[in-house]
Symmetry: C2
Subunit: 227 residues, 2 copies
């Protein structure tokens, strides 16, 4: 059996752009403002999952009941705080991110981006990366029913590329990306650039783990089938 050329489905925050820690403190600021006490490492470990699931898990854990209004305010305040922390070029592409995407384009590997964030927040990161969403398929939370760890975002991204997801790699920095990859029957590739440890990513199903996009590009022959 010969495989088709591998397709690459990328997460955005923590995978191509160095923005996870700013999201963490932005959520903390937003939760503090509503008097919801939660340790910062617990926020970190939920970044990248659907915002709705994230808040549901928090409510279950803290046992605090929240109105729809409060939940909306939490999201709004997170977006505002993130905008402030990410301003003035504090959020940058990860080392090798642009080179990796250029390499894939030059070598005609299909690739797309699939993020649990909304286009409103993603836009800033795409600009920093030099990715034009009118030319490259970018699937955001607005476009699917369920975000990660559900597989919908990656399934939609593969459909936009017109590829079989069983020939795709899902590249992400969080456990939620790796679970979604397995649920979509793609292979998961973990990057350490979001702050998870190697074993956490492997236990969630990563079949290979690299430090960041630069490290992945150096080792690309380990994971990509040429045609």
């Amino acid at each position: 059996m010969s495989l088709d050329k591998t397709a690459f489905l990328f997460d955005l925050d923590g995978t191509l752009v160095d923005s996870v820690y700013q999201h963490v403190l932005a959520w903390k600021e937003s939760l503090d403002a509503e008097g919801v006490p939660i340790s910062v490492w617990r926020i970190h470990r939920r970044i990248g999952m659907s915002g709705g699931l994230f808040l549901n898990m928090l409510l279950r854990e803290t046992g605090i009941a929240m109105s729809e209004e409060t939940l909306l305010r939490l999201r709004h305040n997170h977006a505002a705080a993130y905008g402030r922390l990410a301003a003035a070029d504090a959020v940058r592409p990860l080392p090798g991110a642009r080179e990796l995407l250029d390499f894939l384009t030059a070598n005609k590997f299909p690739w797309a981006i699939a993020t649990s964030g909304r286009m409103e927040t993603a836009r800033h990161n795409l600009t920093a990366l030099g990715v034009d969403p009118s030319k490259i398929p970018v699937v955001t939370r607005d476009q699917v029913r369920h975000a990660k760890p559900d597989p919908d975002l990656f399934i939609a991204a593969a459909a936009r590329l017109g590829v079989d997801i069983r020939n795709a790699l899902v590249i992400g920095d969080s456990v939620w990306d790796m679970l979604a990859a397995q649920r979509a029957r793609a292979l998961g590739v973990g990057l350490l650039s979001g702050g998870y440890g190697v074993a956490e990513l492997q236990q969630a199903g990563a079949f290979r783990v690299y430090e960041d996009p630069a490290d992945m590009l150096r080792n690309i022959d380990e994971i990509a089938s040429r045609d």
Copy 2:
């Protein structure tokens, strides 16, 4: 053989106080101001180690040469940025931290604090914890030759308590605490509250890993010898 009552030597940031992520972004801000590009997860993984070693490792990695003056400015700007991020009660004791220390005091277990930080930054955290350094031994970076992962801080803390370090537990959230524990011949107990994964702490020598001080207190009989 019967062991003496266990002594507890605690790290401060990320172990008793929820302050690691603020330190991470404070270092990022300080490094950005000097034009030193470094991914945020790499900063995270070095928090808790001696500031001198931290900067040495950065210099080696980035290949950037820095004057003594720049290094001083980096530290000063980190302290200023941390002060800002930690203001207005944004840095709080971790869940169960006060209860754990109260339990140890009530049950006459000797305990002390040993931190790679300087008294200048530690003071704010000690106040938040309700620890009075005139009553409880607190060893800071100012008082020893080498900070973590060297064992000096914990050896000094055991000496201040008048206990044999081979009867002590070192409780920390970072790989540097666990390495220092082994080098001092203490047993390391890892907490996830600094954002490392379980396996990272175990591979650095943690003989047991808990989520945070509250989880450790619930399971204290697993690790502490009574007299």
